[in-house]
C-alpha cells in the first residue's frame, strides 16, 4: 500500500535550536510529497511540496524539507525553531487513482513543541 509514516508522535526542541520532523514514504513511481501544519483549532495549512528537481525544498515560515530517494525520506527541517512553530505537522504523499487524478494520503501527524 502507498503510504507515509511519521515515526515520532512528538518532537520537543528548545527555541533557537534546529528542528527536524521525520517522514518516510512508500509509493510506486516518483513520489509527490507534501508537508502541512495545523495550529490549534485551525485547519491545515500548506507548507511545502516536492514534485521533482532539487532535493532541498523551501517553504513557508522558514521551513525546508530534504527529499532523499535512497532512504525514501522527506524530513521537515528548520535551522532555528520558534515557540510559534509549536503545532501538529502532517506529511502526505500523492497517490494516483485510476481515472480521477489523485488523492493525498496523510501520515498520523507529529506534535512539535518548542520551549523557550
Amino acid at each position: 500500500a502507498q503510504s507515509v509514516a511519521q515515526p515520532e508522535d512528538q518532537v520537543n526542541v528548545a527555541e533557537g535550536n534546529p528542528l527536524t520532523v521525520k517522514c518516510t514514504y512508500s509509493v510506486s513511481g516518483n513520489p509527490y510529497l507534501f508537508w502541512y501544519v495545523q495550529y490549534p483549532n485551525r485547519g491545515l495549512q500548506f507548507l511545502l511540496k516536492y514534485i521533482t528537481g532539487d532535493n532541498l525544498v523551501k517553504g513557508s515560515y522558514g521551513f525546508e524539507a530534504e527529499f532523499n530517494k535512497s532512504q525514501t525520506s522527506f524530513h521537515l527541517k528548520k535551522p532555528s525553531a520558534l515557540v510559534s512553530d509549536s503545532a501538529l505537522y502532517f506529511c502526505a504523499v500523492r497517490v494516483r487513482l485510476m481515472e480521477y487524478g489523485n488523492k493525498l494520503v496523510f501520515g498520523a501527524g507529529t506534535i512539535l513543541r518548542v520551549k523557550s
Binding site: G43, K49, R94, G101, N102, L104, F106, A108
Partner: protein
C-alpha cells in the same frame, strides 16, 4: 487567498440524527474533499468530488454520503449519526494541476468538530 469555509466550528448531535456539514470554496476549484481527523490516525479521506454532481468514495465512506450540486459547495451527510462518527471533519479544495487532473496543493477549511451523543 484561497478561502474554504465550513458551516460550523462545533456541532453536537444525537445518535440517529441526520447531520449536514457544509463546505464552500471561493476559488473555482474543481476538486473538493472531505476528511475526518482522529488522534493517532491522521486524516482519512471520506469522499471526494472532481466535478459538479460527481463523487467518488475515499478510504472510509461507510456511514456517509455527499452532495455537490454547485461547483463551490460540497456537503457531507451523515444519514444516521452514530457515536463513532464523533470527530473533526475537514473540507479541502484544489484546482487541477498543471498536468491536467493531477492534484495540486489542497487548501483546507477550519474544520468542524462534531460530537455525537
Amino acid at each position: 487567498d484561497v478561502k474554504v469555509t465550513q458551516s460550523s466550528r462545533y456541532l453536537v448531535k444525537r445518535t440517529g440524527e441526520k447531520v449536514f456539514l457544509e463546505c464552500v470554496q471561493d476559488m473555482d476549484h474543481e476538486n473538493m474533499f472531505w476528511y475526518r481527523q482522529d488522534p493517532g490516525l491522521g486524516l482519512r479521506l471520506i469522499y471526494f468530488s472532481y466535478d459538479v454532481k460527481m463523487k467518488e468514495k475515499g478510504d472510509i465512506p461507510e456511514g456517509y454520503s455527499v452532495s455537490r450540486e454547485k461547483k463551490e459547495r460540497f456537503s457531507l451527510i451523515l444519514e444516521s449519526a452514530s457515536t463513532n462518527q464523533t470527530s473533526m471533519y475537514l473540507c479541502a479544495s484544489s484546482p487541477f494541476g498543471a498536468s491536467g487532473r493531477f492534484l495540486d496543493t489542497q487548501y483546507f477549511g477550519p474544520g468542524t468538530r462534531l460530537t455525537v451523543l
